[in-house]
């Protein structure tokens, strides 16, 4: 029992190390060229060599993503609140939002460049556009799943719609909200890198694009790893906040 608990705790790290070892082994065993598929060791060497450039690019990508993500939380929550609390708004807006969400964001970046020029604008906006939808849908779902009996109990007391939303709807939608943040943050990184690759002048996306065009595969891979690590860290942060604030929704898993 105790041993299996410990294994579970360390399992992500064990899997990571196993994958890296396998990767290294395959590259060495088949003699794959560096410019086609670099080994983890070669990527690690790039990290050491281009440490400052990678850090600078990562920092840039990080805060552009955070700006876009903050925007998507603000807009996503407001829209979700609107369509979750009003059936009219739901019926009117939902089809349009679905259509909008289906538009490939890569196709939108050139348009954003025309409007805002090369630089910050397209990155922030792409990160926002790609990540607000799950937040909206989750908040709306949380608000819409209110038991009719409970609503009666409160309405009899003279509760206004607003009371019901604030006292019941909003707390109830919090677990959905955090679940959506975890999806949205990874999407936001995708959005930023996408914009940087097509129309950036800095950031990890730009670095990867440049490295790729110079056939410097290990550096491009180092960029990929950096993005992955940042997204993973943010995901863990939101998981942690989620457990702290909405423990009531996860009691089943804590009881074991």
């Amino acid at each position: 029992m105790k041993v299996s608990r410990r294994v579970e705790r360390w399992s992500p790290l064990i899997v990571l190390i196993a994958v890296l070892l396998l990767w290294q082994l395959v590259v060495v065993a088949f003699g794959i060229a560096e410019f086609i598929f670099p080994s983890p060791w070669q990527i690690a060497l790039q990290f050491a060599e281009f440490q400052s450039a990678l850090l600078e690019a990562a920092w840039k990508t990080f805060w552009v993503t955070m700006l876009g993500f903050a925007l998507s939380i603000a807009v996503g929550v407001m829209l979700g609140f609107l369509i979750g609390s009003s059936r009219l708004a739901y019926t009117a807006l939902y089809p349009l939002m679905v259509a909008f969400n289906a538009v490939p964001k890569a196709a939108v970046v050139p348009i954003l460049v025309v409007w805002f020029g090369i630089g910050l604008g397209p990155g922030v906006l792409t990160a926002f556009l790609i990540s607000f939808f799950p937040i909206t849908v989750n908040i709306a779902t949380g608000l819409a799943t209110l038991e009719p009996e409970l609503e009666d109990v409160l309405r009899v007391l003279g509760a206004r719609r607003w009371d019901v939303l604030i006292k019941v709807g909003l707390p109830r939608s919090m677990p959905y909200f955090y679940a959506s943040l975890k999806v949205a943050i990874t999407l936001a990184f995708v959005g930023t890198v996408l914009a940087e690759m097509t129309a950036g002048d800095s950031g990890i996306g730009y670095l990867m694009q440049t490295a790729g065009s110079q056939q410097r595969m290990p550096l491009a891979f180092a960029g990929l790893v950096t993005i992955g690590a940042m997204a993973m860290a943010m995901y863990e942060l939101f998981s942690w906040i989620e457990k702290r604030t909405t423990g009531w929704a996860h009691r089943g898993s804590q009881a074991t």
């Binding site: 038991e147 009996e149 409970l150 009666d152 109990v153 409160l154 309405r155 009899v156 007391l157 003279g158 509760a159 009371d163 006292k167 019941v168 707390p171 109830r172 919090m174 909405t246 009531w248 929704a249 009691r251």
Partner: protein
């Protein structure tokens, strides 16, 4: 003058049903005295819950008039508290804060909630204590058993001191022993505070044990078919449910339910 007064009340849920003459309840008339405990029994789907919505002002009648506490009903009645079969407590609030919820909403408590928070908390604790939940105030709903959750739900319905308590099959989901315990809890609360109770149930023993008057409702049309005064002396002990007088009344009411069901052609169903 009676506290609750229904005169010739009909309700169709929307205009379309009204035009077709499909009513959820038909020609309901009843007069309830101050402090009276009434029970409404009948097969499922007979319009008992519709009656609840009318009595709380959540629905307006299509025909007829409803007067409660001397005033015609025009909207949700704040002098009433409700509890249902599902306790529907909020999982992120402790038992105490679930019970306090109505005070955050209903006037005059709402405006003084911040200033008098301590006083209201003490009041809620007293109420929880009176139903045997002392020591569980700071537990969360999922840490309580089904019976305890239902006790808390009844406290939530009573915390703003309503003149009328409406219960829609409140003990339906509980096991037989817990149910009988809660009957006694409700009996004692009502004896102490003298509020009106309208109890909707399909448990005949429950209705006879608790109520002063039992109304039997028929299914489609949803009408009252029998009014039966229960003259068993109070306070009633659980022992009374094993006496011949008690059984006779239950038997008699059961006969009416059977009769009211035969019209729809279905065989009798188990009514505990």
């Amino acid at each position: 003058m009676s506290f609750v007064d229904f005169r010739g009340v009909w309700l169709a849920y929307n205009d379309e049903l009204l035009a077709q003459g499909h009513y959820a309840v038909e020609d309901i008339s009843l007069q309830v005295n101050n402090g009276e405990f009434i029970a409404i029994v009948g097969p499922s789907g007979c319009g008992k819950s519709t009656f609840m919505k009318l009595a709380t002002g959540l629905k307006m009648p299509s025909k007829g008039t409803i007067t409660i506490g001397g005033a015609p009903v025009t909207g949700p009645l704040k002098i009433s508290g409700m509890a249902f079969q599902a306790p529907s407590l909020l999982p992120w609030r402790s038992t105490l804060h679930n019970v306090l919820l109505p005070l955050e909403i209903v006037e005059p408590y709402r405006s003084s909630f911040k200033n008098k928070r301590r006083e209201y908390e003490a009041k809620a604790r007293d109420l929880l204590k009176s139903v045997g939940l002392a020591g569980y105030e700071d537990k969360f709903p999922w840490q309580l058993s089904g019976g305890m959750q239902q006790r808390a739900s009844i406290c939530r319905a009573l915390v703003h001191e309503p003149k009328m308590l409406l219960l829609d099959e409140p003990f339906g989901a509980l096991d037989a022993f817990t149910r009988e315990e809660l009957w006694c809890t409700l009996r004692d609360l009502q004896a102490a505070q003298k509020f009106n109770v309208i109890l909707v149930t399909h448990d005949l023993r429950e209705s006879v044990f608790l109520a002063d008057t039992v109304y039997v409702m028929s299914k489609s049309p949803g009408r009252f078919v029998v009014k039966r005064a229960i003259d068993l002396p109070r306070p009633r002990d659980l022992e009374v449910t094993y006496t011949p007088e008690f059984t006779d009344i239950v038997h008699e009411l059961r006969g009416h339910i059977g009769a009211s069901r035969q019209k729809t052609g279905s065989p009798s169903a188990a009514v505990s």
